[in-house]
Amino acid sequence: MAKRLWILAFAVVLIASGVFGCSPTPPAGDEEKPDGAEAPQFDGEILVGIMVPVTGSEATYGQDMENAMKIAADEINAAGGILGKELKFTLGDDGCDPQMCTAAASKLVSSEVVAVLGGYCSGATIPALKIYGDAKVPFIITAANSTELIKENPGWAFMINSPGYHQADAAANCFERLDVSKLAFVHQGDGFSENLAELTRDEWLSRGHEVVAYDVVNKGEQDFSSLVTKIRSSGAEGVYWTAYHADGAMLIMQLRQGGYTGEITVADGSSSVQLLEIAGAAGEGVYCTSPPVVDYLPAAQRFISAYNTKHNQEPGPYAGLAYDGTYLLADAIERAGSTDPDAIRDALAATENFETLCATITFTPENVLEKSNFMILKGEGGKWTLIE
């Protein structure tokens, strides 16, 4: 008897999960066009692939990017589409995994997309470069920014996010603006923060300034007092912290506690508002070199409210670039005058001073942004505000 009850219970659970859990979400198209009656008449459609991770550890970011691209597409379609055609998307999930990426790219190529948008994880974008190159599909990479992508690019991919070395540039500009000449660098010994510290140090030296301290702290260390003494005795006028926010906040507090009065700038790993929350009063007046996050861009307020209304959440850190990429593609196809892949590629390469939310896009011969899109933020009243 008991056994039967178990089976019954199991069956009920199964049915319930079938009904509630796995019920397919209603096709997005139904609710997307409340004004379907006045929708413009289209002369065919342009199919564009989206390659982002929508499963796996990075799924949230991928989802944000897809959402942002759809918002851009809705706006473009409401304004008459591209070349009178409707912009439509098909999704390839790269799962932030090189193998899934290959499968997703092949799927998109075989569904004969005109172009592809996306690319979040650099590792899961590199394998797609050759596939799109061979199939002659223009590819706008909206987030991934490893320098490996530049090396492996057969010419069909365009990166609209600044590569890491642009940050070194942004940091040097920031310190020059602050009239600093003697700089101290502090990193945490991991690949990312050390690499950035090195790049920035070289950039700083090549501009004819002085590096008075270059130091590393161990992860999990709480006490930076000796480092503070070292920085103070080196006569540094500015400190650049290239690692992450939790330890960065502690360093900032201890620098101020230790009587250091010079400038402090932190890198994108520390751009979280949490840095200012933890650092409290010491965080006032700290600068940050950050990739373009829409929250701080006045031009992006309309996009943010559109995103909020539609998805009932804040756009993630890469949503703005995904939105920009969609507009860039639409513009390039208009300029090409057709959906011929060679024409689109040439139009993309010829992009000049195309204004987007996050940056003004002009490509170098390597299809990388000519000008850095890094922003300079300043901690004021416990919040980051845009300086530049």
Partner: protein, 305 residues
């Protein structure tokens, strides 16, 4: 800054760091002295003390007590009692039933308690850093270009006072005498009519309360808390206890201060980055142990069979 000023500044930095190490090391040393247990959970008690005091301080911040020095002293007092009692509970639940078991079982039990503590803290704080907000400012004294905040100075004084009270407690009271006696021979003490269980519980109470006070001071000084913050300091404090001679109370204080000073001066050696300061201080510590295996204040002890 001149060399002299750097030395003075580092002396203060090292003293503060050393008093944190010392306070935590005392607990290791006392517990080891009395039941021969390396209490791995001790480092996590330090973390629990930090979080407990933060909740209290946040609560007091809204009342007339405020979150300035008065609030800090009141929260510290309550934290030491609450966390001290937690230490007693841990001893009762996880160590007492195993007191006659092989020492390795006790060690594993301590590891288990440590994991329970830091994993619970991770769940409660969702693994994030918590800002430790106080009403203290960054004002301080400056002598030349040496700069010491009031907070730093008061914390050093507070640590020294706590250590002095402990020293008087151990050397001048009957309870202290009983603790020392138990660490020499537990069975004999029982035969002499000492309530061994009560004294061991008291030892745990005092040791944990000191670690909790150190956790709170670290929160006040560093301004943030994290569920894993006990790990590094736990290792350092344990080292300090061994260097001073484990089981010997003044040894733990001495070891802590010494390690703190070694670290702060180790960072200042030219051409060696801060990342190497631990290497430097541990090389010296190894040298000490080679020449004095029982620690600085350790006495030669014949193994009891």
């Amino acid at each position: 800054m001149s060399l002299q000023e750097i030395v003075i500044q580092q002396l203060f930095n090292g003293l503060l760091l050393g008093s944190f190490y010392g306070l935590v090391a005392l607990g290791y040393s006392m517990v080891y002295g009395i039941i021969r247990l390396l209490n791995f959970a001790h480092a996590d008690i330090y973390m629990v003390g930090g979080f407990c005091s933060l909740s209290l301080l946040t609560f007091f911040g809204g009342t007339f007590i405020g979150n300035g020095w008065l609030g800090i002293i009141v929260s510290m007092f309550i934290t030491m009692i609450i966390v001290g009692l937690l230490g007693v509970v841990i001893e009762r639940v996880a160590y007492k039933p195993l007191r006659e078991a092989p020492r390795l079982s006790l060690l594993i039990s301590a590891l288990g308690v440590s994991m329970i503590l830091y994993n619970s803290a991770m769940v409660v704080t969702s693994g994030e850093y918590r800002p430790y907000k106080t009403g203290l400012s960054y004002e301080g004294f400056s002598i030349g270009s040496v700069f010491i905040t009031h907070t730093q100075a008061i914390l050093i004084v507070a640590a020294v006072i706590l250590m002095l009270i402990l020293h008087l407690f151990i050397t001048r009271t009957m309870y202290g005498k009983a603790m020392r006696a138990i660490s020499m021979d537990r069975d004999c003490c029982r035969l002499m009519g000492v309530n061994v269980n009560k004294i061991i519980a008291l030892t745990f109470f005092v040791g944990t309360a000191l670690a909790a006070s150190a956790g709170m001071m670290a929160g006040v000084y560093y301004g943030s808390l994290h569920f894993y913050m006990g790990f590094v300091i736990g290792i350092k404090a344990f080292t300090a206890a061994v260097i001073g001679g484990i089981g010997i109370i003044p040894g733990a204080m001495l070891g802590g201060l010494m390690l703190g000073l070694l670290e702060s001066f180790g960072t200042q050696i030219p051409f060696i980055g801060s990342a190497w300061k631990d290497v430097f201080s541990f090389i010296i510590l190894i040298l000490i142990l080679i020449f004095k295996p029982t620690g600085l204040l350790g006495k030669k002890e014949s193994e009891r069979m």
